[in-house]
Symmetry: C2
Subunit: 315 residues, 2 copies
């Protein structure tokens, strides 16, 4: 039996045949032209699945199902992509359309949930039962793996972990609220903090790092210069880590998971980031000394998290 | 088959024989003298279970297990009460001791978790799959019922829902942190807010309500006077509801449950409280209009939530 994982992204649609053990036996996919209608694109996806099966001479009876990860507001109950800002899709019944095109049962979930499932089943979270995933990118995405299961909430619309308000009078968030965790812990927030610090510290090494062009500063700039000992950069990084740890402590108290997994751009800093977060957690862990400590890990499936997690949806 | 539920409280230890359907067929228990050693008390509990079984002529083979709800820091994995402030118990291996005394398998969890399970299995949460319980009493306790299961976290030490920090520079919490949800949403917090308002408004009806004795003001004072139209009381209630809704919105975004169940002293205000909270949730629900709305309910098992939930632990 094989399981098909589909990772729908802003640029590429990636597909894979995956074994129960998480081994990818075949890859397919294509670069998407999002000027096409949403129906045309789904039709292309159906064709690409059918072609791949034909190419590898796999009968439909040998396929355990098709799992789909998609960005945006996905109703995992109805299988409809209600709204995806990135893809410009509205009210698209993806699951029904893919099932019709292929004759194979399908399931869908939002991309962060799928990444969580991938890491829990086949990645850095493999040996754990209770996990929280935070993707630190443009926003802060979230995934929950609790009691050995993906937890999605009603209609798959829970785990909006970036939209926990941590300061009622805090920074404005893109969602319309103030003080969301995302407004402090995303790569975008880090970039903004970096640019503010650069404006203040004209002598900072960060200016050299971006060749004098403020707009080139991103979520990596401050980390790189912090490693070289630049004081302004070190301050930015430390403040960012304080914010990030602050939200993570809340999630520790709410879930008491075995581990928090960090993904997204900022997580590329690996131990340089996670060691600092773990240190802060130890200082502020709720409860008595025996409260179990929480590991901070970095996702390790890289670009395959999407297809592997999607395939795991139907295992 | 019957299941034994034990509710260990600060004054009484209550026991019940419970059917799979949640019907209580027999009650037993006793008033506890906490000047006795912790070992003596557990021994008395064992005796009371054995006597009740004898009295009702029930063989041990007919018992599905003993479930125990206990306040404090309970390690549900090891079955040890590590620390209970209320009971003055330390490092007490309750499960092993009860199993030895009765010859029946036992399980333990903290009292808020057990109340959550009771409401989910037999109470107001019966028809739902994803639930969050908040008990608004001296502190704010929490329980989570996710994907049709109790979620306890590592060693049963998750669901510390009162200790989500919602304002980093906020009110001091008993746990040592600042700005915990508990410091705003507990009955104690409401009492403090009430007393502060009374100091400011010497003409408030609340003074009459407590017969001129500030120390008599409690979590009910402001609600009672608010219903009679007292302006100062109405302000206290509205501010309290703002705080409570604020934390609940976070839990909606994190879990997107079907319902939030309120328990504890403050929840006795029923619709007078829940209607206002639901109104606030509708205004600030994250996401697009189709994000499912979350019901706010009041626990309805009353004093039986403890024994019923405890029995459900072993069903």
């Amino acid at each position: 039996m094989i399981y098909i994982g589909l990772d729908i992204g802003g640029t590429n649609i990636k597909g894979a045949f995956v074994t129960k053990e998480g081994k990818i036996t075949h890859r397919f996919g294509f670069r998407v032209d999002y000027s096409k209608t949403q129906e045309e694109i789904i039709s292309l996806i159906g064709d690409s699945i059918n072609s791949a099966l034909k190419e590898k001479e796999i009968e439909k009876e040998e396929v355990g199902g098709i799992g789909i990860g998609c960005p945006g507001s996905i109703n995992s109950k109805t299988g409809i992509c209600e709204y995806s800002n990135n893809l410009n899709w509205f009210d698209l019944p993806i699951v029904a359309m893919i099932e019709k095109a292929t004759g194979i049962k399908a399931k869908i979930s939002n991309d962060a949930n799928v990444a969580m499932l991938g890491e829990a089943k086949f990645g850095v979270g493999k040996k754990y039962h209770n996990l929280v995933l935070l993707t630190l990118g443009t926003g802060v995405g979230g995934g929950l793996y609790l009691n050995d299961q993906l937890y999605e909430g009603e209609e798959g619309k829970g785990a909006e972990l970036g939209h926990m308000v941590i300061d009622p009078d805090g920074k404005e968030c893109t969602c319309g609220m103030k003080g969301c965790f995302e407004a402090y812990a995303s790569a975008t927030a880090l970039k903004n903090m970096t640019q503010e610090a650069m404006e203040k510290h004209k002598d900072s090494l960060m200016w050299k790092q971006v060749e004098g062009d403020l707009s080139k500063a991103n979520g990596i700039t401050s980390f790189e210069c912090s490693k070289k000992g630049d004081k302004a950069a070190m301050e930015v990084v430390s403040k960012y880590e304080d914010y990030l740890a602050f939200g993570i402590i809340n999630y520790c108290n709410i879930f008491r998971p075995e581990a928090i997994i960090l993904g997204g751009g900022v997580s590329s800093q690996k131990e340089y980031l996670t060691d600092e977060i773990e240190k802060r957690l130890k200082e502020k862990n709720y409860g008595f000394k025996r409260t179990p400590s929480v590991k901070v890990l970095v996702s390790n499936l890289g670009n395959d998290a999407g297809v592997l997690g999607a395939a795991a949806l139907v295992m």
